[in-house]
Every structure is written in structure tokens, then in C-alpha cells.
């Protein structure tokens, strides 16, 4: 009698399949590699591999003076370049107890808010494009050009300016600055209605984003997720309200909190933030006091020995700088607590159980900028 050999039964549905959403991909917003383990089309787990743009900025800072570090900070989270400059300037000024003129603080706050709006415009364009609506990119970039024009007239460059310096600003603003900002506000208030018409009310977009990628408030705090993402989950973390800097304590703006924590509420949070930023601009733009554009600082800046920490609200979340100084003109250790690094750690948790197409939408709503993660 022949023996019947039964091969082991393999249940093909239980096996996991790893795919690589590689460093070069149109919708990863830079060079992030995600190794996604899927079953069918559902994501079971995700491992992000970063470091494809790790330039060693923290090591470079140990050999540069504080004025030179400002130029490096521009290139970390390049969409909120001014806010990166602001955090280092604030740290140096508070450590040396320098009184910065009022005019400088007003201008810094105004320019920070313009940068935030520009960053969110680009986010909106890319978010729409990731989900298939290429029109959004064209609209977003077109409106962003208006802000780039304002920056170019006053600061000389479109994207990376290094305009703030410890003690004040590199130079005074152009006489047309206030007029142009007011024109921009009137222009953009109309255009933001267009954004709502195109994307917010779109049925496909709502189906793809409602209920997708949920992050509860406790998880947001646990993962250290701040910024619009944390606020969409109900975590009240706006550094502008809790640890005010610049003239944020003199303006009236709301910190809007969401309840759902899904992709759609993260989207709505950024739309609200753009409107709140415009409100802040309206309150400040006519009241810039006259004065110097910089306080008197020595040419060589040496921070007294000790440790310093400074936080600001970047467009993506809380940006922090921790400096250990030993009295020299270069810092002993400089650490940037970047917002996108902590936001990325929650991506694995948020995308479990959803499909790959949802993963792209979740990644878009997280709005990470990879050089901010990798520094």
C-alpha cells in the first residue's frame, strides 16, 4: 500500500508580506523609507527607517558660533525656517538677559505667522495631491508665491532667509512691508473659501479621511505628539499660549481643540490655524512700534556655563532647543527636539488596521518634513 503523505497545510491568508515604500516615492514628502508589513491590503505594522537625510547638524553646531548656527537651523525644518531661527535667538537672548526692542518682537511675530500660513498652504497643496487632486498643488503654490514675494522684498531670499539674529534682526523691513501684508490678508481670505470648496467639502476626501488614523488624547501625550495633530486629538499644547514669547501674550487668538483625532480633524485643525494666523496678523500689522531693529550685542557671543531650554510653536508642533554651554563661543552640546521626530513615532500606531491608501492620507495629514526628523 502506498503511503499517503499529506503536505503541511499553509494558510496563505495568515502570512505577512513586507513591502518597502522606499526612499524615493512621490508622496513620502522627502526621503523616508517605510517597511510596511501587510496582509492583503491591510497594514499590520510599519517600521519607518529614517536617516536618509541625516546631515549631522548637531555635531556641526558644536564647532560653530551661535550666529553661524542660525544659518544651519534654517535648513532643518525648511518650511518654518523663521521659527527655527527664532528658537535659537530666543535662547541666546534669554541666557544673556538681553532686552530685545519691541519693534523686533512685533516683526518676529508677524513673520512667524506668515511662515506658518505659507507652510500650511504647501501642506494643503501636497495633501490634496497625495490623494489624487493635482489642482490643489497648483492652487497652494500660487498663493504661497504671494508670501514669497513679501519675503523677497524685505529679506532678499524666497525660502531660507536667516533673517533673525541673536539680539534682533539682520536689517529693517522694507517700507512696503505693511501694505503688502494687508493686501495678502484680503487676497487670502477670499482664496481660503476656494480651498474649502475644492477639498473640504469633497465627498471622496471626506470618505477617505473620516475615521481614519485615530489617535486618542492619552496616546498623543504618550507619544509626545504636539502641534495641530495633538490638538486634533484634544491635547492642548500650544506653546504660544502656555509659554508665550514674542508678542503672543498681547494678541487674541483661539486654540482650537478637536475631539475625533482622525485625519479629517487634523485637516480641519490646519485650516483653522491658517484663519487664526490671519487674525493675529490683522491685529499686529498696523501697530508695529518704531525703534531699532537690533539690540547692541557683542560680536562674539559666549553663553554663561549652564543649561538652557527654549520652546516655540513651529508649524508642525513644538520645537525645542537644549543647549549645554561651558562658557565658550561654541555650544558644548546642542540638541534640537524636533516636532516631526515625535510625530513620526505615532505613525505605526495610527495606521494599523487601515489600508495602504489610507496610510498615504495619514502620512499627509501628519505633515512631516524629513530633514526635521533626521536633522
Amino acid at each position: 500500500m502506498k503511503e499517503v503523505i499529506n503536505p503541511p497545510v499553509r494558510n496563505i491568508e495568515d502570512e505577512e508580506y513586507h513591502i518597502n515604500i522606499g526612499p524615493q516615492h512621490p508622496s513620502t514628502h522627502g526621503v523616508l523609507r517605510m517597511v510596511v508589513s501587510i496582509q492583503g491590503e491591510t497594514v499590520k505594522s510599519l517600521k519607518p527607517h529614517c536617516g536618509y537625510i541625516h546631515r549631522g547638524i548637531e555635531k556641526m553646531c558644536e564647532k560653530d558660533t551661535y550666529q553661524q548656527i542660525i544659518h544651519l537651523t534654517d535648513r532643518m525644518d525648511y518650511l518654518s525656517a523663521h521659527i527655527n531661527n527664532h528658537v535659537v535667538c530666543l535662547l541666546v537672548e534669554r541666557a544673556l538677559e538681553v532686552a530685545v526692542p519691541e519693534r523686533v518682537q512685533y516683526i518676529r511675530t508677524i513673520v512667524d505667522e506668515l511662515t506658518r500660513i505659507a507652510s500650511h498652504q504647501l501642506w494643503w497643496g501636497c495633501f490634496g495631491m497625495d490623494m489624487g487632486g493635482q489642482t490643489c498643488l497648483l492652487y497652494g503654490m500660487r498663493d504661497r508665491e504671494k508670501i514669497m514675494d513679501i519675503f523677497e522684498e524685505s529679506f532678499g531670499s524666497r525660502l531660507l532667509h536667516s533673517y533673525y539674529t541673536p539680539g534682533g534682526l539682520m536689517g529693517d523691513i522694507h517700507p512696503n512691508f505693511q501694505k503688502r501684508v494687508k493686501e495678502f490678508i484680503t487676497y487670502f481670505r477670499k482664496k481660503i473659501h476656494d480651498y474649502d470648496n475644492i477639498l473640504t467639502g469633497n465627498v471622496i476626501m471626506q470618505e477617505r479621511t473620516k475615521g481614519v488614523g485615530i489617535l486618542t488624547k492619552e496616546e498623543a501625550i504618550d507619544y509626545g505628539v504636539t502641534g495641530p495633530i495633538g490638538r486634533a486629538s484634544g491635547f492642548s499644547c500650544d506653546v504660544r499660549k502656555y509659554h508665550p514669547y514674542g508678542v503672543y501674550d498681547k494678541v487674541d487668538f483661539k486654540e482650537i481643540l478637536g475631539t475625533q483625532g482622525d485625519t479629517f480633524s487634523r485637516y480641519m485643525m490646519r485650516m483653522h490655524e491658517m484663519r487664526e494666523s490671519m487674525k493675529i496678523l490683522e491685529q499686529l500689522i498696523d501697530n508695529i512700534p518704531a525703534g531699532d531693529y537690533s539690540a547692541k550685542m557683542k560680536a562674539v557671543i559666549k553663553l554663561p556655563a549652564g543649561e538652557y531650554y527654549q520652546r516655540v510653536e513651529a508649524a508642525r508642533g513644538e520645537l525645542g532647543v537644549y543647549v549645554v554651554s561651558d562658557g565658550n563661543k561654541t555650544p558644548y552640546r546642542m540638541k534640537f527636539r524636533s516636532s516631526s521626530f515625535s510625530n513620526l513615532s505615532a505613525l505605526d500606531h495610527m495606521s494599523r488596521g487601515f489600508k495602504i491608501a489610507d496610510l498615504i492620507a495619514i502620512g499627509g495629514s501628519l505633515d512631516y518634513v524629513i530633514p526635521d526628523i533626521d536633522r
Binding site: 536617516g51 501625550i221 504618550d222 499644547c237 502656555y242 531650554y309 513644538e318 540638541k335 521626530f341 513615532s345
Partner: protein
């Protein structure tokens, strides 16, 4: 909770913690073996409630390494800075706090990658920025790279 009460509470929980003067946050140096238990208590006790770890840094202090934790409570709004020092440059293992604050997973991987500090009981301790087979830990003060780094 104000700084004086916070100081008393921490010294109650860890009697041999050392208080360091700092203008911004109350700073304590904790012995490495007590850190994990202290972390659990800081999160769970109702009057402390430190649930937000907003920065984890590794510093190279020539004779030893230091891991600095910056903590905040989202409900009670107080902040704290804790430091853990390794004994010397050779034994650089510290207990992980991933099970208390999930954000520490990535931050500890970065500290391992760039500074070489190993964390006991970390779920996935591997390099995060550099290649798997990169030799050395760049942010250390004795990292030598003649080609790229200019010594002044």
C-alpha cells in the same frame, strides 16, 4: 505644585537624589538603578502626574555620560528635569523608560545611535539614522574623523 513642594516630593521618593541649581526647571540627579521606578511613580501618582516627556537628550561629559529627561504634567502644569549619570565611559547601560512614556522609544534609539548609550529592556534597540554597520558613535567627544571634521 510649586518648586519647593516638588523638591520635597522627589527627595521623599528618592532620598539620595542630588538637587542641582537651575534657573528654569528643578533639576535632580538620580542614581541609574532608581530611575525606572521613579518614572513609574511620577506618571502614576495623582499629585505628580508627569505624563509628557518632551525631551530626552544624551550628553557626553568626558568622564561619564548623562541622559537628561525633561518632563511636564499636562494637567498640573509643572515641569521637571531629571538626569541620570553612568558610572564611567565603559559601562554605559541605563534603564529604559519606554514602558512609561512611549515617545522615549525613538529618542532612546537616537541616543544609542549617536552617543552609544545602551538602554536595558528597550523593545527594539538599533541604529536609527546611520547605517547598521557604521563604526563608532559620532556625537561622542572622542569620535575621530580626519576626513570630514576639522579640529580647531
Amino acid at each position: 505644585m510649586d518648586n519647593a513642594t516638588l523638591k520635597e516630593r522627589i527627595l521623599e521618593l528618592v532620598p539620595n537624589a542630588e538637587y542641582q541649581e537651575n534657573k528654569q526647571f528643578p533639576t535632580f540627579i538620580i542614581p541609574p538603578d532608581k530611575m525606572h521606578d521613579l518614572a513609574l511613580k511620577l506618571k502614576q501618582e495623582a499629585d505628580l502626574a508627569f505624563d509628557f516627556l518632551f525631551c530626552l537628550t544624551a550628553v557626553d561629559r568626558i568622564e561619564f555620560f548623562e541622559v537628561v529627561y525633561h518632563l511636564e504634567s499636562t494637567q498640573l502644569k509643572h515641569q521637571l528635569e531629571l538626569k541620570v549619570r553612568t558610572a564611567n565611559r565603559e559601562n554605559v547601560a541605563v534603564d529604559t523608560v519606554c514602558d512609561v512614556w512611549r515617545t522615549a522609544e525613538f529618542h532612546e534609539r537616537e541616543a544609542y545611535d549617536l552617543m552609544g548609550i545602551t538602554f536595558n529592556n528597550h523593545p527594539d534597540l538599533r541604529r536609527i539614522f546611520l547605517d547598521e554597520n557604521w563604526k563608532g558613535h559620532p556625537l561622542r567627544k572622542d569620535y575621530v574623523d580626519e576626513v570630514n571634521i576639522i579640529e580647531r
